[in-house]
Symmetry: C2
């Protein structure tokens, strides 16, 4: 049985590509018809632009909206560009509020206006409502498909009311209790509903030590609350405490992943949603900026070396060793930097404990510096039969690993205080520091002691 399952869950990407390159589109369509929206999204993410266009054509338009919502922003836009405003509108209006707004927000204004025009009055109103929420806030994440009840009715009445509804919105685990002005005053879990006696009043079975999310809260904070308190859903309220809607964990999970991936992608100068299969030109443009910045820092390092050109002229072998210390500093520094950036992202690093952290990283830099200074000194002493040279390299190594620890802690802290994303700018600045310190320490002492 388990084998059967494993199969069912893995997407036959290779089969798809085979079928598509053989032009067996009927077969592809049949395969697609059996698939969940998430799986189709997965398939599109794993496809080359050409395949993507073909697959998209073959997807049943009834689930195109759902698929759109499951795509990363970059992939989604690449597909929206190929659709008519009418078909975009048609696909979008079937989505939940949060997904609806996400799709609408990801369009250029011109497209958005066209799409809006091709909707009926009611959908236009809804579109304008969801777009009125500020992006990346709890409000933009929420759905309005809440079930609200009054405190002064019995469980039995509610149960009969629900039976008339015949079905509940997806992932409904709580009914929300509101007063006549829609102020949120409590919640009743379905579990409580089915376990308490039908004659009881809602006010007797409802939980009043509830947790609510203000509409203005940033989505990252919402995500960390869901993570910390193991929520499945949570109600969203406005400043007056009026119930606006609810956020479900499935939307939060996406944010948790994005936030977690953000640091890694940024540290390489990529944006979180970077599409692995984006067209060459797009990717080239996006990445060249980062390379340009790095070229500038590399030239800076080269300039520092050039200050010691006469030294290098006399002792060519220094040039051979000149890359070792900077590279070690870069690695040690990026270890510290990564740890601090991660610590900041999950909220472990703050002003209060940063001094201790600085002390720790300096100590580690010193100890690791010692270890590898001694080792490199030995290697060079043997290689070139020159103890002095080894000593100079060892000293530079020690200096650079200590400053790497220092830079690895201070740079992200300073950047954060300046409201610059440490993950994005941190690594460039760090390597610049470790390069320059490394070269100065090595060539500087060499000039002083060896000439």
């Amino acid at each position: 049985m388990s084998e059967l399952l494993e199969q069912e869950y893995t997407i036959p990407i290779d089969e798809f590509n085979a079928a598509i390159s053989d032009g067996m589109f009927v077969r592809v369509r049949n395969m697609l018809d059996g698939m969940a929206a998430n799986d189709i999204a997965m398939l599109l993410h794993a496809s080359t632009p050409k395949t993507r266009a073909i697959v998209w054509q073959l997807i049943d338009s009834s689930i195109q909206g759902e698929v759109l919502e499951d795509l990363s922003e970059e992939v989604r836009n690449s597909i929206l560009r190929t659709m008519t405003p009418e078909s975009v509108a048609e696909a979008a209006v079937n989505l939940d509020d949060d997904d609806f707004s996400e799709v609408l927000r990801s369009m250029p204004d011109k497209v958005y206006r066209k799409v809006l025009k091709s909707m009926d009055k009611q959908d236009q109103a809804r579109a304008e409502r969801v777009m009125s929420y500020e992006e990346d806030t709890a409000a933009a994440l929420m759905n309005t498909d809440t079930i609200t009840v009054r405190p002064d009715v019995t469980v039995d009445v509610i149960l009969r009311y629900l039976r008339l509804k015949e079905s509940l919105p997806e992932a409904t685990d709580y009914l929300y209790v509101v007063d006549k002005q829609d102020h949120f005053i409590g919640e009743v879990s379905l579990a409580a509903l089915v376990t308490s006696s039908p004659t009881k009043l809602i006010s007797e079975v409802m939980e009043t030590d509830f947790e609510v999310i203000p509409a203005s809260m940033h989505e990252s904070e919402v995500a960390s609350l869901f993570e910390r308190y193991d929520w499945l859903t949570a109600p969203v309220i406005d400043e007056e405490g009026v119930l606006l809607g609810r956020i479900t964990i499935d939307d939060v999970v996406d944010i948790i992943r994005e936030d977690a991936e953000h640091s890694m992608m940024s540290m390489a100068g990529l944006d979180d949603e970077a599409d692995t299969f984006a067209p060459v030109i797009d990717s080239t443009r996006k990445r060249s900026l980062w390379l340009g910045v790095n070229l500038f820092t590399a030239l800076l390092a080269a300039f520092v070396s050039s200050l010691f050109e006469s030294t290098l002229d006399e002792l060519a072998f220094l040039a051979v060793l000149n890359t070792i210390v900077p590279s070690m500093g870069g690695v040690a520094g990026s270890q510290t930097l990564t740890l601090v950036i991660r610590g900041m992202a999950v909220g472990h690093v703050n002003e209060a404990n940063s001094r201790w952290l600085l002390g720790k990283e300096l100590a580690i830099g010193f100890l690791n510096g010692l270890i590898w200074a001694v080792l490199i000194a030995g290697v060079v002493a043997l290689w070139k039969q020159d103890l002095m040279l080894g000593g100079v390299l060892a000293f530079a190594m020690l200096m650079n690993l200590i400053s790497a620890g220092l830079a690895g802690v201070l740079i992200p802290l300073m950047l954060k205080r300046m409201n610059i994303d440490p993950a994005l700018a941190g690594s460039v600045i760090l390597t610049t520091v470790t390069d320059i310190v490394g070269i100065f320490a090595f060539l500087g002492t060499a000039t002083w002691l060896l000439l």
Copy 2:
């Protein structure tokens, strides 16, 4: 109102540290008493070892278990080491199965046996059961607190049965329908239960197109299924289709974050759960290995340079420029590497599309190579009034950025095929390649053309 909330949700870490350093332990204890286990865990993660020990002493023992479960492995172990087997046992037995086994697994065998001894027979049996599941599998993630019902009873009977129970396990959204041999045959959502007529049979209202998780499935796959299908909970079955338990999303969210963070941490040679505030010695030991590997590769690069010592001897300025090309190659390569590793982690990159990806990255390498080759040639031509030198540097730049694209795609693919974690080994190998190619391309052509 929203202001109130914001406050309630943020942990006053600074206050804590102040109170602790002032020795106001009663105050600290009062603050801790009002806090959720997750918040205390957060506080411990953000504390220095000394503060941690103090805070832990002040935590009410009744929630120590819950806190332990919310800690990262490294932090948890540092605390377990300070506890007596008896208190560990006392804290652990109150946990859900999955948390119970996680805590037990994280202890050294010797400690585990001691802890086991200090439990009563029943808990010992439970411990042995949960430990019998293979680590990192669905079975190790699941709880056994499922509510099972038979297909041949009416909704009304079940509702009365639930009322007798008076409460349901946390995050119960489905009742599971099993036959006499406990084979999983369907599920009934609480929503269905409250919306369908009491006279109906469970067999009429249960869903039979259910999805189940085999006990042997790896936790990462479980996580990606929860993500793809927006599950809140999912039943776990054995090979015979017998219901073993259920997995809830709150445990899956942790795995999603860990998996997402894994790549970033590994790329810097840190392990995912690395404790930001671990003692200096531990961190030094853990990181020195990585530095050692890098020193070796740096020496390798130095050795390559040394092959051109005579050239460097004649043209000292080459030494000044020698760092530029390798550094650019390193950056370009790590962009590709990061993208591919991320793509592999989320399942977008596979054998089928890797050839296309290779072509794309080569093209990007070529284009970016051209851009920056031209620019650097200009800079150097102006700096040194030497067109030839600029040309040599430009050629080396182009060569190295192309090979960086090549290496960025091929290295992770090969490592994965060899079952080596690309995130861990990838960046070292990549920089070695880009260093060596860069130096050869630059100094090699220089030797050939400029002497």
